[in-house]
């Protein structure tokens, strides 16, 4: 049980560290270990947003600094330590949430733009602090603040405070990584749009993660204010904080709760371990070299390398699973009387910079049918799917699912109401295994399941789509046919009422196409309504109950497949007019 052993070792380490002050070591060692804790707390808190969700922030110095100065103000005003520290954390968290509430609304602000923006926020905050009464220029002295002596000296007190903050932060990161919320953040990391369409409330999750990350950084900052006893704007908001935090997390591995702690320890030892005169410069140069080498040779960091040995998969599904699935099935082999409409689109319009992609489309999808949606390239099929799933907001018109209006709802809310889709070019979450990809949909779909249940359910859907053998593979290891089926499994795992299949057959070999066709029919037979977008007419004729034809953003025909295909307007669109 290596996992258990690792946890026991970690616990023993924590207890051992707790006992260090009792041995009354020289103050130098306590101070050095305090610095390790300080960087562990900062790097780990950074990872909760940036490592997990991929929103690399260069603004961690701002949240750290907010904590430093909030503590400086509160403590010099005479507040007791145990009130001031949480309040400083709260101030930093509120600042973080305030920044996030604006920044996360802009869809394109990801990657390096987010990094630069957060860096700029740091400098703006620094300028404001420097020029107002918060600091005013000369810096703030904290040496008059009385420190409670828990054991022995003040350095011991600081040591214990640092240890407490670091341990809390690492424990928080551990909890987040294991939670539903953490799974959502990892999905955001790989493909935020897909995560949202699968039901992950991306905006709220990012905001929470930023709030938590900045709150923890703020508490670390508050303790650090006591440690340095004299805080200045230049030191507090220097570029060193965000850059070292990024460096430490990347070295240790930013996708793992323990990675930043490992990286922080390693880098701090390199930085302060080699002290005195010329060697300090060498230490810094080594830090730089480490970063270069890690990015070039070890992109996942230390934990990334270790995690490549994947943990054993969960137990395979019991054979009874298949029978429970078929028990869910509703027999639909005989076409009954026309059912009630499940999805109703009324005069839906959408334009992109003057190009009218949808020019007032009205259609309905009946409960339990397979509706074929066809039309030439650029006719608006994909736009319609994107509008129904909530990825785009319609300019006008109304969409309702089972009587519930979808207009104005975010994509993740629409997903929870029971709408799922697949992508023509598969978009799996690249860093999650096939099973995790499917389980994620189960965790955030119509029924929100806990992680373990969702993973068990995922096994069933992988069985259903014939991917059970590849459950532990990463999507990159799948061929196109398997990726297409992964798309299907993921859409189905959310147990949707309506699933929109965007050209599932394109690019498949004839044998695979037969498999896919059978699968689509099975899906409907299990009670899910299907919108089937396809160019391959034979499959459309074979599978669908009804067909609607889009052309240049308008509906030009609808009805039974055979009738629609004889419609002269449709024939003209597909084959051109006869020039006799």
């Amino acid at each position: 049980m290596p996992r258990l052993a690792a946890r026991a070792a970690l616990l023993a380490l924590g207890l051992g560290l707790l006992l260090v002050p009792a041995a009354r070591p020289p103050a130098f060692y306590e101070s050095f270990l305090y610095l390790v804790f300080h960087w562990v707390a900062l790097a780990t808190s950074w990872t909760i947003l940036s490592g997990f969700s991929g929103y690399f922030s260069f603004g961690h110095g701002a949240f750290f600094g907010a904590g430093v100065y909030a503590a400086a103000m509160l403590l010099t005003a005479g507040l007791p330590l145990l009130v001031a520290l949480p309040l400083a954390g709260l101030a930093a968290a509120l600042f973080g949430v305030g920044v996030g509430a604006v920044v996360f609304r802009v869809r394109r602000l990801r990657g390096e733009l987010f990094a630069l923006l957060t860096l700029a926020v740091t400098f703006v905050l620094a300028t404001i602090v420097l020029n107002t009464r918060i600091d005013g220029g000369p810096g703030v002295y904290l040496n008059a603040v009385p420190l409670p002596r828990i054991v022995g000296s003040t350095t011991a007190t600081l040591y214990l405070l640092g240890l407490a903050v670091a341990a809390t932060t690492v424990a928080t990161a551990y909890a987040v990584q294991g939670a539903r919320w953490g799974a959502g953040l990892f999905a955001i990391h790989d493909d935020e749009d897909v995560a949202e369409v699968l039901g992950v409330p991306t905006y709220r999750y990012k905001l929470l993660a930023l709030g938590l990350a900045s709150g923890l950084a703020g508490v670390a900052g508050a303790v650090h204010a006591l440690f340095v006893t004299y805080v200045t704007v230049a030191e507090t908001f220097s570029i060193v904080v965000p850059l070292y935090v990024v460096l430490m997390s990347v070295v240790g591995g930013a996708r793992h709760w323990l990675g930043p702690a490992l990286g922080a320890t390693l880098v701090t030892v390199l930085m302060y371990g080699v002290t005195g005169g010329e060697t300090a410069v060498v230490g810094r140069a080594l830090v730089g070299l480490t970063l270069v080498l890690v990015i070039l040779f070890l992109p996942g960091g230390i934990t990334g390398r270790l995690a490549r040995r994947r943990p054993a998969p969960l137990a395979a599904p019991a054979p009874a699973a298949t029978s429970t699935l078929s028990a869910l099935a509703i027999s639909r082999s005989l076409p009954g009387p026309p059912a009630a409409p499940l999805l109703v689109c009324t005069d839906v319009r959408k334009a992109f910079r003057g190009l009218q992609a949808l020019g007032g489309v009205s259609l309905e999808v009946r409960e339990g049918e397979i509706l074929g949606l066809v039309g030439p390239n650029g006719s608006g099929k994909s736009t319609l799917i994107n509008v129904i799933s909530g990825h785009f907001r319609a300019d006008a018109g109304e969409i309702a699912l089972g009587g519930v209006r979808l207009g104005g709802r975010a994509a993740h809310q629409i997903a929870r109401l029971g709408v799922a889709r697949t992508y023509q070019i598969p978009r799996p979450f690249a860093h999650l295994t096939v099973r995790e990809n499917v389980a994620l949909a189960g965790m955030f779909g119509r029924v929100d399941r806990p992680r373990r249940t969702a993973e068990r359910e995922a096994n069933r859907w992988l069985e259903f789509t014939g991917l059970a053998q590849r459950a532990d593979a990463l999507p990159a290891a799948l061929n196109l046919h398997q990726r297409k089926f992964l798309e299907l499994a993921r859409a189905l795992a959310s147990e949707p009422r309506l699933v929109m299949l965007d050209e599932v057959l394109s690019g498949l070999a004839p044998g695979e196409m037969a498999d896919a066709t059978r699968l689509v029919r099975d899906i409907r037979d299990r009670g899910t309504t299907v919108v089937f977008v396809e160019h391959i007419m034979r499959a459309v004729m074979e599978l669908t109950d009804r067909v609607v034809v889009l052309d240049a953003g308008s509906l030009i025909a609808s009805g039974a497949p055979r009738d629609v295909m004889r419609d002269p307007r449709v024939v003209e669109r597909y084959l051109g007019t006869t020039h006799a």
């Binding site: 690399f56 604006v102 920044v103 802009v106 394109r108 602000l109 990657g111 390096e112 733009l113 990094a115 630069l116 923006l117 860096l119 700029a120 926020v121 400098f123 703006v124 620094a126 300028t127 404001i128 420097l130 020029n131 220029g137 220097s238 570029i239 850059l243 990024v246 460096l247 990347v250 010329e278 410069v281 060498v282 810094r284 140069a285 830090v287 730089g288 070299l289 480490t290 970063l291 270069v292 990015i295 070039l296 992109p299």
Partner: protein, 283 residues
């Protein structure tokens, strides 16, 4: 309200410092916009150039003009080496930000090891003197920096717009595969461009040495404002950082004249934040 002369002098010095922003941003915008590499080490390289200029002048008695002849060609080689490294390892845009940060720290350590962390000031009276135009002072070195920025940005613009190499580079930035299918040798062009960017850092460094007091930690002082100029100017456009740099420089100088000098950073960073929030597709 400050006097008219003070305001005019502010606008003038803002214009001149904007030239330096443009000069520092030129190499940055080229590598980010055309090679998709964010080169933080550009600033460290510029400071290495500044320190070399300082040493060439104080230890060997060479006129700072000589360092404009000696340093940029040597840096061209460094730029080529860097690009070879990036291409060999297929460094991504975000990876480049981290790798070049590592390089920045290494160069900073090198500078600190060679020149110590003490402040260094290059004394070159012939260059640091000012011309007087009416009530206004025009510092010679800064005017030269602005002229160099205009000249280099202009030449680069012409090169990108009218030569085959330049058009090839722009095509690669747009779509590397299609450009390759049309016979554009991206590898070689990227080496040239990276070399040029580093050489521009050398030129900027010589002027930094003439105008400012040097300290290794000052490397980081420029990052924010120059990035603001690069993004405001539109990536890959050689004239962008110059124009945006001048706008930022003048607004900063006016802010300093009207309030306190310490408020100046607020201008560039607020501008940067606003551009990112309102026009993220510019980048």
């Amino acid at each position: 309200m400050p006097s008219f002369t003070l305001l005019a002098q502010s606008v003038l010095s803002g214009l001149l410092v904007g030239g330096l922003y443009g000069l520092l941003g030129l190499g940055l915008t080229l590598s980010w916009g055309l090679l998709r590499l964010i080169n933080l080490a550009h600033f460290a390289l510029a400071f290495l150039g500044a320190y070399l200029t300082y040493t060439l002048s104080t230890a060997f008695g060479l006129d700072p003009l000589w360092s404009l002849v000696l340093v940029p060609p040597a840096f061209f080689g460094l730029g080529v080496l860097g690009q070879l490294l990036f291409a060999r390892f297929g460094v991504t845009q975000f990876g480049s930000l981290l790798v070049t940060f590592g390089l920045t720290v290494m160069i900073e350590s090198l500078i600190q090891w060679g020149w110590t962390a003490d402040y260094r000031r290059l004394e070159a009276p012939a260059w640091t003197a000012s011309w007087r135009i009416g009530p206004l002072f025009v510092p010679r070195a800064e005017l030269l920096a602005l002229s160099a920025a205009v000249a280099l940005a202009g030449l680069t613009w012409i090169w990108l717009r009218y030569t085959w190499a330049g058009k090839g580079l722009r095509a690669c930035a747009e779509d590397p595969e299609i450009a390759a299918a049309f016979g554009v040798n991206r590898r070689r062009l990227a080496l040239v461009l990276s070399g040029l960017g580093a050489a521009f850092a050398g030129v900027a460094g010589a002027f930094v040495a003439l105008i400012y007091t040097l300290a290794p930690s000052q490397i980081y002082a420029w990052i924010g404002v120059v990035f603001a100029a690069v993004i405001l100017g539109g990536l890959g456009n050689p004239l962008g950082p110059l124009v945006a740099g001048v706008v930022i420089g003048v607004t900063e100088a006016l802010t300093m004249a009207l309030t306190a000098p310490a408020w100046a950073p607020l201008v560039s960073f607020s501008l940067l934040i606003l551009v990112l929030l309102l026009r993220p597709d510019r980048v």
